[in-house]
Subunit: 141 residues, 2 copies
Amino acid sequence: MPDLGLLLYLPHRELENRVFAALAEAGFDDVTPAQARVFHRIDPDGSRLTELAEAARITKQTAGFLVDQLERAGYVERGPDPTDARARLIRVAERGRAAVPVCLAAIAEVQREWTAHLGRPRMAALLDALTRLREITDPGR
Amino acid sequence: MPDLGLLLYLPHRELENRVFAALAEAGFDDVTPAQARVFHRIDPDGSRLTELAEAARITKQTAGFLVDQLERAGYVERGPDPTDARARLIRVAERGRAAVPVCLAAIAEVQREWTAHLGRPRMAALLDALTRLREITDPGR
DNA sequence: ATAGGGTGATCAACTTCTCTGACCGCTGTC
DNA sequence: GACAGCGGTCAGAGAAGTTGATCACCCTAT
């Protein structure tokens, strides 16, 4: 039995651990996976809380809780939404922008290792399959 | 940027949701993802708590907590380990055995859908790549 | 122009999962 | 047999998520 669930879970956990280890080493030691999943979905032009919650598939309350923490740590900032006084726009702040290259480097490093293990064609096939799978597993994008 | 982390996360979450929806519908509505991850690693001949904790990469305490819940709900049972009086063997119990086919059916159904979307060769390539990746992301197996 | 339903966000209380640290009993070696 | 070490549990805490209620603001249909 191929055990699809575990097969997807293991590499995801590995990658996540590696990225957070890299972040911690670079001094971004106060960010958690849950915060990162929200942070990750922030649009360059700013996002509303409800948008983030929907994209990350969590409740607005949880999203608000995580954005609070990110804001307190200086990774994001909240401002008013000029088009709707009820809403507030969440934007990536200075410290958040500084953390992004660290993540990207860690991901690239893991991808290099995996490519070395699998060989270039199999790695390409993996990325291709996962990308196409996103079409039916990421509702709304 | 392909965003490897999200690509692995999305299908895993989708599969997990589907399996737990199927379990709930079949009357196994008191089992949680964390419990399932431990349950899943139980050897047919029984496993020790410490083994399960290592395999699932959680602390002994967390494993104990989850096994407590699984035991109370009738999915597993604890017995003595004849070879070591300190240890206790955790085995799958009646209700646990009954839940397994429900999970397998749900996984098979998702796999069918994904195969239909990707095409047979791409799905095979995905499983192949993930299986090989396990060699370097599942330490100890 | 305004009354009322829908949307964006927050507050409060709770559950689940995970951790660290301390501890106890059994094993096996020297 | 003494004792270092392993298997497991107890206690306490924090992180991440939930539901339910509430409030302010928006927009459309009378």
